[in-house]
Symmetry: C2
């Protein structure tokens, strides 16, 4: 097989290669400047193959910056349903996504990347703005963007203390204790 | 002057040297296992000289991990006064400490350090637990440690989005807009 770029069938490491080309493109052109089609072209594969491995641009991007792949579906599921319990569902979802040895490691890696690489910070900024805040906005009705960002701040900070700084009170707490404490704040920010 | 350790007068870079020895000791022995006396001994200076440059162990430690030196005084000042406005004073203080080009850089460096170095995470964990939460506990009366930790989470997360991820809504907000949004949550966590 020829080295370098060229159209080819999906081999064992094709998924990883697509991801690598996506990483380069997102870093060079940002979220808006990158398309599934462009990633496929760079990787020398058919766009359908990219879609076979990744649900779409957001999923590809989330994986590049270390966010779990199905995060967007989970956020969408959390904000669906009555506005009343939205705060609880959102905090619980955040904990389910990251509360595992692998989740902790990924969270720490993501934080390390955004703190030390401008590009990773810009990627996460795009992702949070376009995916997370957009979904929160669905349940929040008229909430201002700063209020939605403050919900993100509450969750990210909890993750910082639970997974990165490992503050004992936050590490030892049961998920539902955290939900009970933090969800009312999230709810207040979302629906006022 | 002899190289290496040995009692000496305070020269121009003595402060930096003390800090370097303190960094090594804190990393090797943790917060509890380190004393101003031990740092002085390692640095080959009189303990009084360490106290001349640094208010005490907490201040020395805070500087080692990149927290501004007078942070403890500022936290103490914020929690002093009536419980009523404590949430506002605490959020405002956090923003005043970090809301400058230098503050941003330090915050980002601190986050990068704790995400990539176990030792730095342990140091910050000690510092937050012993200094920040202890002061918050003064105003909070009977609040559980998890509630105090959740206050920390709210502030750290806001710092993450404002200084590290640089989410536009959080970066562009005036400090007082953030205070108005977040302080009620902090207040609720502190005094119920």
């Amino acid at each position: 097989m020829a080295a370098g770029r060229g159209r080819r069938a999906g081999g064992g490491d094709t998924r990883a290669e697509i991801l690598e080309f996506a990483r380069e493109l997102f870093a060079a052109k940002g979220y808006d400047g990158t398309s599934v089609r462009a990633v496929a072209r760079e990787a020398g594969v058919d766009p359908a193959l990219v879609h076979h491995y990744f649900a779409g641009k957001a999923a590809l991007f989330a994986e590049v910056i270390g966010v779990p792949r199905d995060i967007e579906d989970k956020i969408a599921a959390a904000v669906a349903g009555p506005a009343d319990g939205a705060g609880e569902r959102i905090v619980r979802t955040f904990l389910r996504v990251w509360d595992s040895p692998e989740g902790r490691t990924r969270f720490r890696a993501m934080v390390g990347a955004v703190a030390t690489h401008e590009e990773a910070a810009r990627m996460l900024q795009d992702f949070v703005g376009r995916t997370v805040l957009a979904h929160l906005g669905e349940v929040a009705g008229g909430a201002r963007e700063l209020a939605l960002a403050s919900v993100g701040a509450q969750l990210v900070g909890m993750g910082m203390l639970r997974y990165v700084v490992e503050l004992p009170a936050m590490v030892e707490a049961e998920p539902e204790e955290i939900v009970a404490l933090i969800a009312p704040n999230v709810q207040r920010l979302l629906v006022g």
